[in-house]
């Protein structure tokens, strides 16, 4: 019993991180129908910014989180401005190829600056509580709480604020939106800032839970979170959260039942099977950004 609860908790922690990354994919896709394949690498940048803020600058946790999220948001906006905006009128495939290229560029840039894996020091005191054999760590609690908070914030932004309204309008009809006096460039920049900012926050959460980071960490985790977004129904905010938790669960359970080398194989297989039955994801693929 305690063992199962323990695994459930692990699932929740991992799923929370996937969910926050998946939200970044879904934001950009939901608004622009563009899959930002560099998103996994933005997540990695977030983890490295977290490392710098923690190991080099010794900043307190809340500031570390802000530095990582805002720093990554700025990088995300720069990527949009320099790589995607010039291609906005070009066929979608050009943007996808560019996105992959941007990802490789970011990886190699990081590799050039800091090629070795880094150990991220503790950001909050790592306390564990014991409930009838179930160990709950302060880190797991914080990771789960943060993800819930971030999701609620995003939900609020998209549904209730004027900028969220403009994002939804943009996803419906990008040509007509300027006729309302709205700057499409500004709304797209904001969308990328939020999407990348979530990647940066997720990088911090990851570094807190799994404190060894390296320049290639964004590739595998990025792909997984992307699949989580697709499984939930890409473009759908609640779907991204659901997909993230499902992926976390599948991975954790696979690791319990089978040798750990099978983990990714099992996880991907199950997700692919799921997609055969629900090709548009669990919550369906909307034409536009959905909450």
């Amino acid at each position: 019993m305690a063992y199962i609860s323990q695994q459930l908790l692990n699932m929740l922690q991992l799923g929370s991180i996937y969910a926050v990354i998946a939200l970044g994919y879904t934001m950009v896709y939901g608004v622009l129908s563009l899959i930002n394949f560099a998103h996994g690498d933005l997540f990695m940048i977030g983890a490295f910014l977290c490392f710098i803020a923690t190991a080099k600058l010794h900043l307190p946790f809340v500031v570390v989180l802000a530095v990582a999220a805002i720093g990554t948001a700025v990088v995300g906006m720069a990527v949009e401005r320099l790589a995607y905006r010039p291609l906005r009128a070009a066929p979608k495939v050009s943007a996808i190829i560019t996105a992959l290229g941007v990802g490789v560029f970011i990886e190699n840039l990081t590799l050039a600056i800091s090629p070795y894996p880094r150990h991220v020091p503790e950001m909050i005191p790592n306390v564990s509580w014991n409930f009838n054999g179930l160990t709950v760590s302060s880190i797991a609690v914080l990771v789960v709480l943060l993800s819930v908070l971030l999701m609620a914030a995003l939900d609020f932004i998209v549904r209730k604020t004027r900028y969220g309204m403009a994002m939804r309008a943009l996803s419906w009809d990008i040509k007509t939106l300027p006729l309302m006096g709205v700057s499409v460039n500004a709304i797209i920049a904001l969308t990328f800032a939020i999407g990348a900012g979530f990647g940066g926050a997720a990088g911090t959460m990851y570094a807190m839970a799994f404190p060894v980071i390296d320049p290639y960490m964004g590739i595998m985790i990025g792909w997984k979170a992307f699949i989580a977004a697709v499984v939930g129904g890409i473009g759908n905010i609640r779907g991204a959260m659901l997909g993230g938790y499902i992926l976390g669960a599948v991975e954790t359970l696979a690791a319990v039942a089978l040798p750990s080398t099978y983990r990714d194989f099992i996880a991907f297989t199950l997700l692919l099977i799921l997609l055969i039955f629900r090709p548009n994801g669990i919550l369906g693929q909307p034409k536009t950004l959905k909450v």
Binding site: R162, M165, A166, R168, A169, S171, W172, D173, K175, T176, P178, L179, M180, G181, V182, S183, V184, K287, T288, L289
Partner: protein, 238 residues
């Protein structure tokens, strides 16, 4: 003669090799309704898209004396030009209320005025008031046109470019829409009205222009155009 509000000079619009507008020159006076009529494909919508900055063009467009060529579409809205595009341009995934709110995007510093205009729009179109929380994609064609006009009023422009408001509407609804266009104009808004329903448009308008194959072929007072044999034969079916 009232002052010129909109001045178009030798305007051309091309899509690749298709030359949709081929050198058009005309003026719209402040406070007027100018009707632009012409068959499908004549280039009317392209002309409006040029004025509102949605497409690149050759020639000049001046609004209240200011050259607005090359300005971004959202900046042109800020100057006071509101374009209700062909097909209405409703954001179907937003509620009726959100669409109206979006129309007032640039009026953040004027919440009092926005609230007044909101009440005014709901007074003009009571049917919108009953559907504020409804997704606007589920509205009927007539209701969507009302929403498009209502939303345009929320941006409080001095000039409204209106592209075929009667398209797809029953005669009764079209009458209703034209009555409201008249009311808006009486309140001081200048209107450039593109229509295929030449009869209704010319009855309402002060001046009219006839467009064929990207060029102006006739222009004059609306009352004259209504009795012009060429207009009667080609556009009024008599």
């Amino acid at each position: 003669m009232p002052p010129t509000m909109l001045s178009i000079e030798n305007l051309t619009v091309s899509y690749g090799t298709i030359r949709a507008v081929r050198g058009i020159t005309f003026k719209v006076q402040k406070g007027q309704i100018a009707a632009l009529i012409g068959a499908n494909g004549a280039g009317k919508s392209s002309l409006l898209r040029a004025i509102s900055g949605m497409v690149k063009y050759g020639g000049e467009v001046k609004f209240n004396g200011t050259n607005i060529k090359g300005m971004a579409a959202d900046k042109i809205v800020a100057l006071g030009i509101t374009h209700i595009p062909e097909g209405r341009g409703i954001f179907g995934n937003l509620t009726v209320k959100e669409n109206l709110t979006l129309g007032a995007w640039l009026r953040r510093n004027d919440p009092e005025g926005v609230r007044k205009d909101y009440e005014h729009v709901l007074g003009l179109f009571p049917r919108l008031g009953q559907r504020l929380g409804q997704l606007s994609g589920t509205l009927s064609g007539g209701e969507q046109q009302m929403l498009a006009i209502g939303r345009a009023l929320m941006s409080k422009g001095d000039l409204i470019l209106l592209d075929e408001p009667s398209m797809g509407l029953s005669p009764v609804l079209a009458d209703e829409i034209f009555r409201i266009i008249d009311e808006i104009n009486r309140a001081g808004v200048t209107i450039l009205l593109v229509e295929q329903n030449a009869f209704m448009a010319l009855q309402l308008a002060d001046g009219g222009f006839v467009m064929e194959n990207g060029q102006l072929t006739l222009e004059g007072a609306a009352s004259e155009l209504l009795t012009d044999p060429r207009v009667r034969q080609a556009y009024l079916g008599v």
